[in-house]
Amino acid sequence: MTRLSDIARVVRSKNTSPFTYALDIMFRDAADYRTFKERDMVDAALISRLYGLDESEVLDIIYFDPALAIKICLPREVSSGAPGDRDVYGAQQHAPLLLWEFELPA
């Protein structure tokens, strides 16, 4: 089994607005990126499972070839810095991606 920390150069999260944040996965190797893209390995069902969300809450998943990257957009539960918020910059919401184990073709 493989984890993203084995093949990704960057796994991070950050606000994209006061009401949304994005998870970014950037691969080291173009071949790994292509495998992910061709097999649609990061989809709403996966994010729903990792984050305990409804699939319909996943706002967008975008594959961006120039950076060998996948971007996943999610709504915040509470807007940035409002009472009850937990992460004003949205910078520590990526960890569940690092727990994910998957199989890569040999």
């Binding site: 009401f19 970014d24 950037m26 989809d43 305990g52 975008i62 539960e77 009472p83 937990r86």
Partner: protein, 486 residues
């Protein structure tokens, strides 16, 4: 879900993290004289974050046509916009500005500062202008100062609401007249046009309120006829200075050189290089869609972008396109005060208490509710339980994993300072002595790191306006011109 088409092949010719430390820092690039070029020096990611003087000197040695810096962000949260305070430190901003003003005014290089004071509303702008004036006096600098305001009158927002020219951005709550009235400061992110207006009035130094980050970099080269797509994309990268380099830094300088059909990024420190991947990675940063980036008056379309390594740590970028939108829209931001906060921080080490923490906190909340003065509620009470789920809440997959130690922040927000103090104090004392089932440590449930245990954290705000307004590019941004004399 979207899978965007590949418009044309993309070259990534350099792999990440190749750092050639033997390279001489910033050998100025030789470009044929017939090629129109425009060099922009970005000293730091945020005015007040600092930058090394030797990097800045190398940037100046490259004869920049513009020094520009972004001073703001909504990242630090709604407090700064709502309260009118800066999230940067006055002495740090002063240090950066002293170097920038001396270099720019001394050499006749235009200096443009955007999103002054962090949030870019009236008080933030005045705070920055006061520092600029103070420095001009001390350093005996004379220049023409342009001040561009970005405050939006409540009446303008209400009018937009009435005539349907206002629309909410993703996730923003519905807007009504009460919310508009409650927003202390409302700002619009200006595009390049108001900054161009100030520059065309002969301003040497422009201090702008809230601005679309790339606009402070793109305004002048666009006036000189450079391609808006390239100028805005370069601005998008330079607004974070050396963050797009490898290794990235928010407090180091970077140089961008616009040419007719591409731009070049050049590092200004021997410690870092730009690589196609570091620049491509930055294009993703803080954006919901890296392929099409909406801004004032149109979209930056990056679907056909290319990043090519040039050697010596430089990267060339081409293919960025600007597509004007049929309606000119500006992004509005507003925050309103929702109360006052008091907090208490405590640790829990008792395994029996840790085991039952969820039910204990629920019962404490119920007890506190019964103890509060009439008319006050526990609605603004929040427990941040570090070691369980303080960072991710319901989205934390490991929230049931046993911990040996928990950190609890009692976060009490209420309508007045007194009510927040009461809510915090009653919660702290109730939790400290709560007799939970199975308790054998009967002396006290909390380890406080401080005395006093309860701290006042001041006003609490929330973003309530994050909307697009169809508007004139110039109408909302009055330009003032002042002669600053030595």
């Amino acid at each position: 879900m979207r899978n965007l088409p590949e418009k044309q092949p993309v070259t990534i010719s350099v792999l990440p993290f190749e750092v050639n430390s033997a390279r001489p820092p910033c050998a100025p690039r030789r470009v044929a004289d017939s090629v129109a070029r425009f060099a922009i020096l970005s000293p730091t990611a945020i005015l007040g974050y600092g930058f090394p003087e030797d990097s800045f000197a190398r940037g100046l040695a490259c004869n920049p046509d513009l020094i520009a810096v972004d001073a703001g962000s909504t990242d630090p949260g709604p407090y700064y916009l709502g309260s009118g305070k800066s999230f940067t430190d006055a002495r740090a901003v002063r240090r950066d500005l002293a170097l920038l003003l001396q270099a720019a005014v001394g050499r006749g290089i235009p200096l443009v500062i955007g999103s002054a004071g962090g949030a870019g509303a009236g008080p933030h702008l005045e705070w920055t202008v006061a520092i600029v004036r103070e420095l001009a006096r001390e350093l005996r600098l004379a220049f023409r100062l342009g001040i561009v305001r970005a405050d939006v009158p409540a009446a303008t927002v209400l009018e937009g609401l009435r005539n349907g020219r206002l629309s909410a951005l993703s996730g923003a709550p519905p807007l009504d007249a009460d919310t508009v009235a409650a927003s202390g400061h409302i700002v619009a992110q200006m595009g390049v046009e108001p900054i161009q207006e100030a520059l065309s009035l002969g301003c040497d130094v422009v201090v702008a309120g809230r601005a679309y980050d790339p606009a402070v970099f793109a305004a002048l080269p666009m006036m000189r006829g450079f391609d808006p797509g390239l100028a805005l994309h370069l601005g998008k990268i330079l607004e974070c200075a050396a963050i797009a380099a490898s290794p990235g830094s928010g407090s180091d300088c970077a140089l961008g050189i616009l040419e007719a059909d591409r731009f070049i990024l050049q590092p200004l420190s021997g410690e870092r290089v730009f690589t196609p991947t570091s620049v491509a990675a930055h294009t993703l940063y803080e954006k919901s869609n890296p392929c099409v980036l909406p801004g004032p008056g149109g979209d930056l379309d990056l679907r056909a972008v290319r990043f090519d390594a040039l050697g010596e740590g430089c990267v060339a970028v081409s293919g960025s396109r600007f597509t004007p939108s049929p309606r000119y829209c500006l992004k509005l931001e507003g925050a309103r005060r929702v109360g006052y906060r008091s907090v208490a921080i405590a640790g829990v080490r008792d395994p029996v208490m840790i085991e039952g923490i969820e039910s204990i906190l629920q019962q404490v909340r119920e007890r506190v509710r019964a103890l509060l003065p009439p008319g006050e509620s526990d609605q603004g009470l929040c427990f941040h339980v570090y070691g369980r789920d303080a960072v991710m809440g319901e989205r934390e997959p490991l929230r049931r994993q046993p911990a040996h130690e928990l950190g609890i922040v009692i976060d009490a927000v209420a309508a007045s300072v007194a009510a927040a103090d009461t809510l915090c104090s009653l919660t702290r004392s109730t939790l400290l002595h709560f007799g939970y089932p199975g308790r054998i440590a009967t002396a006290g449930n909390l380890a406080f790191p401080f005395s006093p245990s309860d701290l006042r954290a001041g006003e609490v705000y929330e973003f309530c306006i994050y909307h697009l307004l169809e508007a004139d590019p110039l109408g909302l941004f009055p330009v003032e011109v002042h002669e600053v004399r030595a």
